[in-house]
């Protein structure tokens, strides 16, 4: 199955399937470090590991359709001194192997890099069983597990490079839904990048939602509303300082994520501001099991687009009384 893409508009920015950046970076790391290994579940094609397999046939462990085994094997490889990148479709990696991720990787503090391929609604028409939207909530609940979601190819490269040397358990989304390049500063672990300064409202977005947040900010700007856009590429640990600064300086926060609208980015931000600097919020995400449809259709269906983010920002300004 080829990666889904938004209907190309004339003059629109080029878009990228981040699995390409992921595979290139992993191969270059593996050339330099013999401890880098890949583990997968009959997903060489969908994880874009074909070239890795070709170059390092002995360092690709395909355990077959067996995700619990896959994550356990990853933990064992880490114990043996390897740096395993465990790759599988997001829903089955995060869902099927949650306990292995918790007990074998996080609690044991093994440096396993769990790579959730095609996360969010990337497998649109395959239905809710194949949508990886609960993963932020599930993975965020596990102590000592770093949770990351790069927003474009550059950040994907940076995240992969950092993860390989971090020496800790990491869960990372690798987007398949094609997105434009939005970052300029590479990937800084644990830091939220402020992509546009703004004073009226903050839009905190993660992964595939970042480019949409920028689009929403542009629309708001045209209407004289100054929106600050934050790229939350590390969901856990959360860069509390940047969020609280945004809460203080803009007084309203919209969060946007290709994930259930509870327990993920919206939940994390809400928990933080409620305790330290309460401001009105709107949490945009997926509120229900999705109907049938491709990725683009579903994102629009759930208002996870520039128009939806813009409307949420305007609604916040209205309740605050300045619009």
């Amino acid at each position: 199955m080829s990666a889904p893409e938004a209907a190309p508009k004339p003059g629109a920015a080029p878009t990228f399937d981040c699995r390409v950046a992921f595979a290139e970076e992993l191969i270059s790391l593996a050339r330099a470090d013999a401890r880098i290994v890949a583990v997968c579940n009959d997903s060489i094609g969908s994880s874009n590991l074909g070239a890795f397999q070709k170059e390092f046939p002995d360092r690709l462990v395909n355990v077959g359709i067996a995700e619990q085994n896959m994550v356990g094997v990853g933990a064992g490889l880490a114990n043996a001194g390897m740096i395993p990148f465990v790759c599988a479709a997001g829903p089955f990696l995060s869902g099927r192997a949650t306990e292995q991720i918790k007990a074998d990787c996080a609690y044991s503090q093994y440096p396993v890099v769990l790579c959730a391929m095609s996360p969010g609604l990337a497998y649109g028409e395959l239905g809710p069983t194949h949508h990886s939207i609960e993963d932020f909530a599930w993975m965020r609940a596990i102590p000592d597990l770093t949770v990351m979601a790069p927003a474009d190819p550059d950040e994907t490269r940076g995240a992969v490079r950092w993860a390989a040397g971090a020496g800790r358990p990491i869960y990372m989304r690798i987007p398949r839904f094609k997105i434009p390049a939005v970052t300029t500063g590479g990937f800084t672990p644990g830091r939220i990048a402020t992509l546009t300064e703004g004073s009226d409202v903050t839009i905190a977005a993660i992964g595939t939602m970042v480019s949409r947040a920028l689009e929403a900010a542009k629309r708001l700007g045209e209407a004289g509303i100054s929106a600050r856009v934050l790229n939350v590429s590390t969901l856990k640990p959360l860069d509390e300082e940047t969020i609280l600064k945004a809460a203080r300086e803009t007084g309203a926060i919209v969060t946007a994520e290709e994930a259930v609208s509870g327990g993920g980015l919206g939940g994390a931000v809400a928990e933080l501001v409620a305790q330290h600097h309460p401001v009105p919020m709107r949490i945009l995400g997926v509120p229900a099991f999705a109907p049938t449809g491709d990725t683009q259709f579903l994102l629009d269906h759930f208002g996870l687009n520039a128009a939806g983010i813009e409307a949420a920002a305007r609604a916040l300004l209205k309740i605050r009384g300045d619009a």
Partner: protein, 291 residues
């Protein structure tokens, strides 16, 4: 993009007059299997998505079950005494929907909306929206445990209805199957039949090249199952075997099949796991299948 038949709104599927009735006639069963294969090819081409290889390997098994074996009533799909069926390899929904529609669970034309926005027929079986579907499958390794629960439930209630489950062979790499296999034998579930679609391929390669399953029959035997090794494309022999009852042990039917069965350029080729045929390839496929 809206669905051509559903007009952009999600609608409920309703039972209809069956295209084919239940039968014991070998020629008739073979004819139905051809109709199912033709429908699969058209459906996947219309959707531009799907898992055609496994659809064509499981076709004869589903045909034997739905047009001979299963005691079910499409007009009353939740009648308590019906036989239960679970398609554990849920990615082969196009084959399943084709069979259900030709049996009268819903209009065959509804299958044209497969995977289109707001269609009730998404890429994997959905029991909330599709009459005749007992379980939401798609994540592999769920069907056998559910089937063990169904068969155990029938036992507890003292009912004689039977439970059937179709498993992918690659799917058997999931450990949940072996937990369920142990439980089924322990409980003496003679009312349970698991059919393995043994096409020797999974998504990316052969099963034996990925994570070896053989000796598969011996594995089920060692777990205490009654094992049958059969030609998975002989519809009437399958119908005959699956129709028989009377063991005190769960039954595993290892159905030897070919992925892409019936279409020369797809048959036994791993790259047709989820490739979509072009318009010209569809022409050739339909011609070959109709022969």
């Amino acid at each position: 993009m809206t669905s051509p038949i559903l007009g952009g709104a999600e609608v409920a599927l309703r039972p209809c007059r069956p295209t084919y009735e239940r039968t014991s006639d070998a020629a008739q069963l073979a004819e139905i299997a051809i109709a199912v294969r033709l429908k699969i090819i058209r459906t996947i081409h219309a959707a531009q998505l799907g898992h055609v290889g496994g659809d064509l390997s499981v076709t004869d098994i589903l045909t034997a079950l739905y047009f001979h074996v299963l005691d079910i009533d499409p007009a009353n799909p939740t009648s308590p005494k019906r036989d239960r069926f679970v398609l554990s390899k849920g990615h082969c929904a196009a084959a399943f929907y084709s069979v259900l529609s030709l049996r009268g669970f819903f209009e065959p034309e509804a299958v044209d909306s497969f995977m289109k926005p707001l269609s009730p027929l998404n890429g994997h079986p959905n029991r909330r929206k599709i009459p005749g579907v007992e379980a939401n499958t798609g994540p592999l390794g769920h069907g056998l445990p559910i089937a063990v629960g169904m068969a155990t439930g029938a036992r507890i209630a003292g009912e004689t209805w039977r439970t059937f489950v179709v498993l992918g062979d690659g799917e058997l790499q999931e450990g949940s199957n072996w937990e369920a296999a142990m439980a089924a034998a322990h409980r003496g579930l003679g009312n349970l039949t698991a059919i393995v679609d043994r096409n020797r391929f999974q998504q990316g390669a052969g099963t034996e090249a990925t994570n070896q399953l053989e000796p598969l029959a011996d594995k089920f035997r060692a777990f205490g199952w009654d094992v049958h090794d059969v030609d998975g494309h002989d519809v009437s022999a399958l119908a005959d075997l699956l129709g028989r009852t009377g063991s005190d042990r769960p039954r595993a039917v290892i159905a030897r099949t070919f992925k892409g069965r019936g279409v020369s350029f797809m048959e036994d080729k791993v790259d047709w796991h989820h490739k979509v045929p072009s318009a010209e390839q569809v022409e050739i496929a339909l011609k070959e299948l109709a022969r």
